[in-house]
């Protein structure tokens, strides 16, 4: 069986798709066979962030409805042989996605030897978000240091603890990871933005990583190259750390302090 990871948040626009793409790439870089699925039916986006939008022939719904095989619909990544994308349907309505259909696809991926399936959840707490989390073994809850996002993520943490198959079957709780993104250490230092510690205290859970607010994220999405592949960017390096932690390695948090290096130090190192 593949390990199922849902990337979810409640609130939209917080960085779920950005994170799903980078985590999937990072797991593939670690040698794992990975599929990343776009659950946002009607608002397909993951294909663009992964840079495979022109190669989408069949989508998730086609497989669910038996109109295409899993093999036909999986898009192989150009960079990593062990990484595949399953696009969301752009034309069908949300009702085309059913619990049995999702289960069939996930089981199929397990049979195909996939080790990890990353589920990019749509926003909200409706059917699409529910289906994305239902079969998960692990959850990455993406949160921004901002009031509505923090509140929504607490709501999602509650749903993860009760409304998943693991919870219903009493199979032990799904592992919950809090991923704080779009973090701006300068604004935190000025008292304008909730800190890592604030968010951890409010939600009562430690973060699995902190992704700084970064211009490189837009550049990455412009190019269709997940930001984790931009090894010089802080955001990319922070995602690499998160992948290592998800795989059980210890990595200290980085990029959460204001960079105090002067120009000369930056040029000559230090």
């Amino acid at each position: 069986m593949a390990e199922i990871i849902v990337v979810t948040s409640g609130k939209g626009g917080v960085g779920k798709t950005t994170s799903s793409a980078s985590l999937a790439v990072g797991l593939a870089q670690a040698g794992k066979k990975v599929a990343v699925i776009d659950f946002d039916v009607g608002l397909r986006n993951l294909d663009l962030i992964m840079g495979c939008e022109r190669r989408v022939v069949y989508d998730f719904i086609n497989v669910v409805q038996g109109e295409a095989s899993l093999k036909q619909a999986l898009i192989k990544d150009k960079r990593y042989d062990s990484l595949y994308v399953l696009a969301a349907s752009q034309t069908r309505d949300k009702d085309a996605l059913t619990q049995e259909g999702v289960e069939k696809v996930l089981d199929g991926l397990g049979t195909e030897g996939f080790e990890y399936v990353v589920c990019d959840s749509p926003a909200g707490i409706e059917k699409g978000a529910h289906l994305a989390m239902y079969f998960a073994d692990h959850a990455v809850v993406v949160v921004n240091p901002e009031v509505s996002s923090v509140r929504d993520s607490d709501r999602i943490l509650g749903l993860l603890a009760s409304k998943t198959r693991r919870a219903e079957r009493g199979e032990g709780p799904i592992t919950q990871h809090l991923l704080l993104t779009r973090y701006n250490p300068t604004r935190v230092e000025a008292g304008e933005m909730l800190s890592v510690k604030d968010v951890e205290e409010i939600l009562g859970i430690k973060v699995v990583g902190v992704i700084p607010e970064s211009e490189n994220v837009l550049a990455a999405s412009n190019a269709g190259v997940p930001v984790i592949l931009d090894e010089n960017s802080f955001a990319g390096q922070a995602y690499t750390d998160v992948v290592s932690r998800l795989l059980g390695q210890e990595r200290p948090l980085r990029f959460i302090e204001v960079q105090k290096k002067g120009f000369l130090k930056r040029v000559f190192g230090g």
Binding site: R151, D154, G158, G191, E192, M193, L194, S195, D198, I202
Partner: protein, 86 residues
């Protein structure tokens, strides 16, 4: 305030306010999590019935849902007005 002051104005240090507000709302929402949707409605109807007999305040009826060792307990308390003799 002059236009220059306005342009130079820094955002305020509001993170503390955000944290305090979140602390309260998150605690409140956690305490009613999983409670059925009909709870507020049930409360109102009970209040109406009780008011047929006793003149109680709007906030006299308190409903809460507790969970202990697998049991769900719907707790209901009604604060009656002080009994006036005679």
């Amino acid at each position: 305030m002059g236009i220059l002051d306005f342009l130079k104005r820094k955002p305020e240090a509001t993170a503390g306010v955000a944290k305090e507000r979140l602390r309260i709302i998150v605690a409140q929402e956690r305490s009613t999590r999983g409670a059925p949707d009909y709870l507020p409605l049930l409360r109102n109807e009970l209040l109406e019935v009780i008011r047929k007999y006793v003149n109680v305040d709007v906030d006299a009826v308190n409903i809460s849902l507790d969970r202990d060792s697998g049991h769900e307990v719907l707790e209901l308390s009604v604060a009656l007005p002080e009994h006036k003799p005679g």
